[in-house]
Structure formats: C-alpha cells, structure tokens
C-alpha cells in the first residue's frame, strides 16, 4: 500500500514545474511521436534508419549537458572529455575481451562507469574547489584539450593496452559493435533496425528518467543553486554535493554517447575531444533551449539534422548558413528556438481560450 | 506658470513588457520643491521612478522637464539634462572603488566640477576614509551613502531618490535629510523621493503624493504632513 503510493508519487514526478509539457495533451502528443518513431523504420530505408541512430547517439550527451548547465547552471565545456574517455574505454575493453557472452554490454557499462568516475574526480576538484562560472567552462575545456593532445600523440606501438592500440590521431578502430547474446545466435547491433530500437528505447528511458530527476527534490535544489547558490546553501543544502552529482550524471550520459558512437562507427578519434567537438554540445543545447529537457532533446536533434542536410545540399555555403542560423536563433529566440515555439503556441492557445 | 514647473507628469502609463503598472499618473514638481511619494509595497513607486529617468519606456502620457518633453529621450540624455537618480537597492558598481564610483557620477554633467568631491566627502566622511575600497565590499548603509554621494557628484538640478533612508543608521538618515534640504535651499535642487520613513518624509518633504495601484490617489500639503497619523493612514490599509 505504502509501497504503491510511493511508486505513484515517483511516477508523478514525470510532470512538474521543472519540465515543460504536462497533461493529457502533451502525453498524447508524446505517445504519437513515440509511435511514429517506432513505425519509422517501416517507411525508411536502412540508410535513414542507421543515420537516425547516429543522430540519437549524440542526444544523451545533450541531455546530460542540459542537466549540468541548463538546470544546474554550471557550464561544462568539457563534456566531450567524458565522451572520449568512455569511447576509448569501450574500445580497449571490447578489443581485449571480444564480443561473446554479452561482454560488449559489460564493456558499455564499464566504460560509462569509467567516465562517471573520471567526472567524479574532476567534479570534486572543480566544485569542492569553488570554481564556477566561465572558470569552470575553461578548466573543463582544458581537460578535454589535454586529453585530445595526449591521445593524438599515442601513435606509436608503445601505446598499447592489451591488444588494443590507441593509435594516436588516426584514431582507434576495429572494436566490435555492441552485441546482444541471444539463443539463436548473438545479435550484432549494426546501425540498422535492432540498434535503432535499442537506442530509441535507451533514449526514452533516459529522457523520462531525467524528467523525474529534475522534478524531484534533487532537481529543485539544482535549479535553486543555479539561481542563487548562496541562498541555496543557506537553506541547508550541501550545494557542492548536488552540483557534483549532476555533473557525474550528465557526464555519464556523455560517456554513454561516446560508447554508442564508437560502437556505431567502430571508430574513435582524439578529434572527438577537440575544440570544435567540445563546442558542439553547447550549440545543440543552447539552440533548443537548455533549461528544459524536452526542448534540449528536440533542439539538439533538429540541429543535427539541419546541419547534416545543409552540408549535403548547400555545398560550400553550408557552414555560412549554419553560422547564420545560430546567430539568428540566439537573437530571435533568447530561450532557445524550441522554447520560443512552445511559448508562442502556448500564448496562441491561451488567447483562443480567452476569447 | 510654466516657468516655475520643474517636472510635469501627465497621464503616464508604463510597466514591464506586457504588464501595466502605472495607470495614468499625474503629478508635478515646481522649481525648488522637495516632493515625497508614498505608498504601500508593490504599488508602482519604483516603477514610476524608473519610468521618469528613462529606464523603462512609458506606454503613454507625457513627462516634461521645464516644459520640454523628455519621455522620448534615452536615460543618459535625461541624466544630462540634470536629473540624478538613486535606485532602490543601491546598485553601486561593485568591482570599482568608492572613488571611481563617485567619478562615474560626474557624467551626469559631463564635466568635472571643482570642489564637488570635497563637498561629498564632507557630507559622507566614510566615503573619503574608504575611497580605495571596492564598493561591493562596503556595508549596506555605506553603499547607500555612496549611491547618494555618487549622484550629487554630477551637480544635478533635480534628483529622484528611491527609498534613500533604507539601511541607513538613524543619525545619518537625519543627516541626509539635512543635506537635501540644504542643497535645495542653496542651489534650488528639486527632489522627488519615495520613502517609507515618516521621520524622513517630515524632515524633507514640502508636499507629498500618495500612490496606490499605479495611480496618484491623494496629494498632501505641508500642513497635512505635520499630522503624523495622517501620513501613517496613507501608508497603511
């Protein structure tokens, strides 16, 4: 009895003041989108399916950054460090352990755990050292760049872990894809149907889980810290612990992205941690509207798709148009483009109701 | 008698974005007058002051300074016409020294006025003592003194003060009232101030307007002001 009401309370956190979207209208829309996403492969060719998996791969990192930056107010410019750490861990582990017996899944967990651990160490150093604001951003960026530069020069054969060569700037390849052990023979998750559904399911789970997290007490405190850390502490919250936890969770999600990406393309390179790579998550999250999970999710996906389409169709003008889109977005939609659309529709519907 | 009108505010509307606060404010200040504005929390006093100096755009109505329409001018242009403004909550420049804060105050006039710094130091000795301290580390009351001193540095012909007594020790509150009255006598400084401190209102104001729900609802004469309970009644309910 007590148990079920508790579960109900936790589930109720799916809606709350920290997330946009509530009520039957939102959830039926959500269900519709989900349905479409599930049906999508029936109408798309396998290139499109695999390409969408590729887009999905990055969204975990975006959601994680939304938690750290949008909710927690700590701008981490170094999420790709954790992306890279998990990616290399996955590579090293799977190359050494192989893909039998579900070991790739173990490697996934271990790699994500590894990036969470690194985030805990770095986060302890940052938050317990009272580093905040841009300083936080630059220190995290520095960490990423150190990793990138270090990994870039590991070309020599001396940089080998077990049978896995780190292989420097050229990147590490040949790691197996994620493989699910199955009675009728293991299912290798190439960028195709099974991987699509697995990634989609993960994405939905992470999205809903984060919604509950940010609407819980934890989320309230996180937002309070963003708004006024001193006040939050003076209400009795150990702000450093909360910031650290958000950082670890967000970075673990970056790590998950790293593993999925590596498994998707059987490749990881130090460039994934470089300056450009490090700036991208910030762009995705900012464009959609970083202070909400849903707008982050939709915004990041939209940016990824639009940028790829531009690259395909706008030839040499692609980067110019992308840049212009970013500038215009920031100017016309201060809280993110998806957020702006949401607000506009809300205003419209309210006006209609008023009539 | 337009030549004695320092400030004329007519049917002024304003607020924040879509949210109206001021709903047709009418009042005036004559040359050489000190006028108080009183009212409960949240009725729009600070909003009025911000609209007068130009930090909020008016949504309708007119503001005239010595007969000249100023409501279309930007805040810095209004300041250069000689209006000084002390915001509620002080807003000193936190990472600049006390002296630097004072020097910024001179931009109202756009020139350096000989002897002004000494005068301000005389009014507020703590500012001289702490000339090199960063303003953000001054105590609350010290910051309030700095904010007032800063605006005097520009030798304005009219000042808008938003709750100048807030956070200031009683004897300095009296001192500030004295300074304002003296400047008013000596230089004809016009003063519009928002205040809750009855002692200060009585020590300074020649007239008083009562504000409620974005409107001026009463005007009190000097004689009315002598009646403590009368003021108190306007501040309550």
């Amino acid at each position: 009895m007590e148990q079920t009401s508790r579960i109900r309370r936790i589930l109720a956190l799916i809606e709350g003041p920290q997330t946009l979207g509530r009520g039957p209208r939102f959830w039926s829309g959500f269900a519709l989108v989900l349905l479409l996403a599930c049906a999508y492969p029936a109408f798309a060719d396998s290139y499109d399916v695999g390409n969408n998996v590729y887009f999905f791969n990055w969204l975990f990192m975006a959601l994680g950054l939304s938690l750290i930056w949008g909710y927690g107010g700590a701008l981490s410019f170094g999420q790709t460090a954790f992306f890279g750490i998990a990616a290399y861990c996955y590579g090293v582990l799977t190359i050494n352990l192989g893909d039998a017996y579900g070991l790739t899944l173990f490697s996934l967990l271990a790699a994500v755990g590894c990036s969470a651990l690194c985030a805990a160490v770095l986060g302890y150093f940052l938050f317990y050292g009272r580093i905040n604001g841009v300083f936080l951003g630059i220190v995290s960026l520095s960490v990423t760049l150190v990793l990138e530069r270090f990994m870039a020069q590991t070309a020599g054969p001396e940089w080998t872990i077990g049978s896995a060569r780190l292989n420097g700037f050229n990147g590490m390849g040949n790691m197996p894809s994620l493989t699910i052990p199955w009675p009728g023979g293991p299912i290798v998750l190439y960028p195709d149907l099974p991987l699509y559904y697995v990634t989609l399911a993960l994405l939905i789970a992470v999205y809903l889980g984060l919604r509950m997290l940010v609407n819980s007490r934890f989320g309230n405190v996180l937002v309070a810290i963003r708004e006024n850390p001193l006040r939050a502490e003076m209400l009795g919250y150990d702000i450093r612990r909360y910031q650290l936890m958000a950082f670890v969770i967000g970075s673990a999600l970056a790590g998950l992205s790293g593993v999925l990406y590596t498994s998707w393309g059987n490749y990881i390179t130090p460039a994934s941690m470089g300056m450009t790579a490090a700036a991208l998550p910030i762009v995705w999250v900012a464009v959609g509207g970083r202070s909400d999970l849903t707008t982050t999710l939709v915004g990041a996906l939209a940016v990824l798709i639009v940028f790829q389409l531009l690259t395909i169709h706008a030839s040499q003008y692609a980067l110019v148009v992308m840049g212009a889109l970013l500038v215009i977005t920031v100017l016309v939609a201060p809280r993110g483009i998806v957020m702006a659309l949401v607000e506009a529709t809300l205003r419209l519907s309210r006006r209609k109701e008023a009539r | 008698m337009p030549d004695t009108r320092l400030l004329q505010v007519s049917a002024l509307n304003g607020g924040y974005g879509g949210k109206p606060v001021l709903q047709g404010v009418d009042f005036h200040v004559d040359e050489g007058e000190i006028v108080a504005i009183i009212g409960r929390n949240g009725v729009g006093k600070s909003t009025l002051m911000k609209t007068l100096i130009g930090l909020l755009p008016p949504a309708g109505g007119a503001i005239q300074l010595r007969g000249q329409r100023i409501d279309t001018l930007s805040a810095h242009r209004r300041a250069r016409l000689g209006i000084g403004y002390v915001p509620q909550g002080r807003d000193v420049f936190p990472r600049m020294t006390v002296l630097e804060n004072l020097l910024v105050g001179q931009s109202i006039s756009g020139r350096r006025i000989e002897g002004m710094l000494e005068q301000v130091y005389e009014h507020f000795p703590i500012l001289q003592e702490r000339a090199g301290q960063r303003a953000g580390t001054m105590s609350g009351g010290q910051q309030q003194q700095l904010a007032i001193g800063r605006v005097l540095m520009g030798a304005p012909s009219m000042v808008l003060l938003d709750e100048p007594s807030e956070g200031i020790q009683p004897n300095i509150v009296q001192g500030i009232a004295r300074i304002m009255v003296e400047l008013n006598r000596r230089t004809g400084l016009g003063v519009v101030f928002v205040e809750q401190n009855i002692d200060m209102i009585r020590a300074m104001a020649q007239r008083c307007y009562v504000m409620d729900k974005g409107r001026i609802t009463a005007a009190l004469s000097r004689a009315d002001l002598d009646d403590q309970d009368r003021i108190r009644s306007y501040l309550s309910v």
Binding site: D48, G50, N167, F169, N170, Y267, S315 | -
Partner: protein, 387 residues
C-alpha cells in the same frame, strides 16, 4: 538507349583546415570524369559523381561514407585527405564491402582489400630523397615532424634510412598539430648543427615554421615528403624562406614534361582560379583512369572481379607525373618520383627523377591482399603478424 551510369562518390574536405590542399582533388576528379564521359564513358556507361563536403571533420566522413554506399549506392568512393579521416571511414567501407580510393600521400601501411591507395608512401619518397640529401649536404640529420601517426611513422622511416646510409640523427622533434610558433624549435635546430633538416610538417599552422626559420636566418637545406607537394608553401610564403627545400613528389604543377603541361593546361581551362595543382590532385585524376581500366577489364564494377584484375599485376596508367601501376599485394601504386628543389626565388628545378619506384614495404613485410585481407594498418614498428 541510356546506359546505367557508374557512380563515383567523392568525399573530400572543401572547407575547414584541410580545404587548402583538397579542393583541387575534387576538381581533378571532375576533370577526369568529364574527359571520360566526353570519350564515351566506361564501357559506354557515363560516370556520375556524388560529391559531399566533409568539412575537415571525421564524423562527416562517417556519415557520408554510409550515405554514398547505402543510399547513393555508388560503385566506388574517392575519399579523404587526413589519415584520420581514412581510418574513420574504413570500417564502414569494410562493413558494406565497398571500394574506396585514397588518393593521398600518407604514412603507409594500410593493408585492406577494400582500399586502393594512389598516393606515395614513405619508402617511395625517403629511399630516394635521403640518400641524395646525405650525399649532397652531409650525414647529420635533424627531423621535425608533426606529432601524430603520419609524422611519427615518417620520422621512423627517416631514422631507418639515414642510419642504413651511414648517417646520424642529431635531433628529432615532434610538433603537436596546430602549433604555429617555432622559436624554441629553431633554437634547438641551431644547437644541434645538422647538415640538413627533414621537415614533416602538417597543416597550415605548422607551415609557419618556414617563415619563422627564414626570419631567424637558420639557412639550412631542408628535405620533406609532404610540404610543397601538398600545401604549395613555396607559393604562399615570401621567398627565400623555403630556399633549398628538397621534396620528392610524384607530381607538382611545375613539372616540366609534356604530360604535365597538358594536364595543367586542361586543368586551368576548366578551373581558371585553381591556386595550385598539387600532387594529390594529380593522384586523384589518375585514380579515375585507374578505375576506368579496372572496370573495363573486369567488365563489372563488382569488387571481387576488380580485385581479380588487380591480382594480374599489370594495371597501369600514365598519370600527369609518370606511370602508375597497382601493386597487387598492397593495392598501393608505384610512381615516378621527382626530386623538386626550391630555389632562392622559390622557383622549382628538378635535379633528379626515379622511375617506377614501388611501394615495396607492405608486400615485403607480409601484407598480401591476393591471399588474405586483414583490413588493418601497419607500420615498421608494428608490422603484419608473420604467418
């Protein structure tokens, strides 16, 4: 009746860091395709190019390699400048069993049946260059190299060949990519007093070395496998900062042969604004003709059939720089290697050339794609496993 076109994917960096060296590669492919189509295509089938700009970004290579193979269903892909980009797309080419041409000088060692490499490799460039330099200038050598796979492996080759020829390495320094300031390096070189400097600098930032060394009056002869031929530094920097630079190339636009002159003429007729026709543009151009011959002889675009033709060991074309033949074991290409000497006024002379230099190392080391396909990259310090 309309014959079904043969589709070629072209994935090259047309923007970003590498664009300087790679836009010309795209143009060269377009030129070759136009010529072939004008002459009736490949076995009557026209060539159709599917081009994407990979923006000097490895992830774009991954995205678009999948796209050309899965969506556009191209018959072959011409892709990549940096080795990292090649390694990024190689797993995808393997997965879909496609055929990719890597038309770029690089550090060597790719033993992969899905790849044909038309660029020169270290043994071709250094076995010719270094003995010449040591003969002419002396045996003390200092290497500065980009600090990544290409630089490290190339430096390893330099070390090996210098020592084999009785020379001595007096210094070796690795420069991280993106570094543009060289004062300390210049001083280190002066302290080591080499007879000449091997410069294996990659990327536009590192090229700043030449200007800075010139300004500090270092005045040492230089040798390279990668500069001038790729990034035309002699055109971009003011003389005499590249004075006495020696580079072994399989082509550059100054090459004074009828074939080269003809190529330059055609190129400029089609692309009048091309700043420079570098070695990789020539490789890309020749690669299209190699592919034409492969398909015509295989009578198919099927990879297995094509590889049967390669295995015959006689697939050759005459490229702008000389004859190029595919080595069946490594699927790399033999070249005529020209020694380019940059003079004080930055004009180029060619004191020597070597015909038919083979990409021997991979085959000798144990890569034999006619027998097995490990789809791996090796290096002298990490050779193929002996079977």
């Amino acid at each position: 009746q309309d014959a079904k076109p043969i589709k070629l994917g072209v994935l090259e960096d047309q923007s970003g860091d590498f664009a300087l060296a790679t836009i010309g590669k795209v143009h060269a492919i377009e030129l070759a395709a136009e010529e072939i189509n004008a002459a009736g295509g490949i076995d009557g089938r026209p060539l159709e190019l599917v081009e994407y700009d990979t923006q000097s970004d490895n992830t774009r290579f991954q995205e678009f390699m999948r796209r050309v193979l899965q969506r556009d269903k191209v018959d072959a892909v011409f892709a990549g400048f940096s080795s990292a980009s090649r390694e990024a797309y190689r797993p995808i080419v393997n997965q879909f069993d496609g055929l990719a041409f890597y038309n770029n000088q690089y550090e060597g060692g790719v033993c992969d049946g899905n790849m044909i490499v038309t660029g020169a490799v270290p043994e071709q460039q250094f076995s010719t260059l270094l003995p010449y330099m040591m003969e002419k200038y002396g045996k003390n050598v200092y290497t500065i190299a980009a600090d990544y796979n290409f630089g490290q492996i190339s430096a390893e080759w330099v070390r090996k060949i210098v020592e084999e020829n009785g020379g001595k390495m007096v210094g070796e320094e690795f420069i991280p990519l993106g570094v543009s300031q060289f004062s300390q390096t210049i001083q280190n070189i002066q302290a080591a007093k080499p007879d000449f400097v091997v410069t294996l600098l990659v990327g536009t930032a590192q090229a700043s070395y030449y200007e800075q060394a010139g300004a500090a009056n270092v005045n040492l002869p230089m040798a390279s496998s990668v500069n001038v031929g790729q990034g035309y530094e002699h055109k971009r920097f003011k003389a005499p900062s590249l004075k006495d630079m020696y580079v072994t190339v399989n082509y550059i636009e100054e090459l004074d042969t009828p074939a080269s002159k003809e190529f330059v003429k055609k190129f400029h007729a089609k692309f009048p604004n091309e700043p420079y026709i570098n070695q990789e543009a020539s490789n890309s151009y020749a690669a299209v003709y190699l592919y034409k011959q492969l398909v015509e002889r295989a009578k198919s675009t099927d990879l297995a059939e094509i590889r049967k033709v390669i295995a015959q060991g006689d697939v050759c074309v005459d490229g702008p720089g000389g004859q190029m033949c595919i080595d069946p074991k490594s699927q790399h290409v033999s070249h005529t290697i020209h020694l380019a000497h940059v003079k004080a006024d930055h004009s180029i002379e060619f004191p020597q050339k070597w015909d038919g230099i083979k990409p021997y190392w991979l085959g000798d080391a144990g890569c034999d794609l006619t027998k097995s396909d490990p789809s791996a990259q090796y290096s002298p310090s990490n050779p193929p496993p002996k079977s």
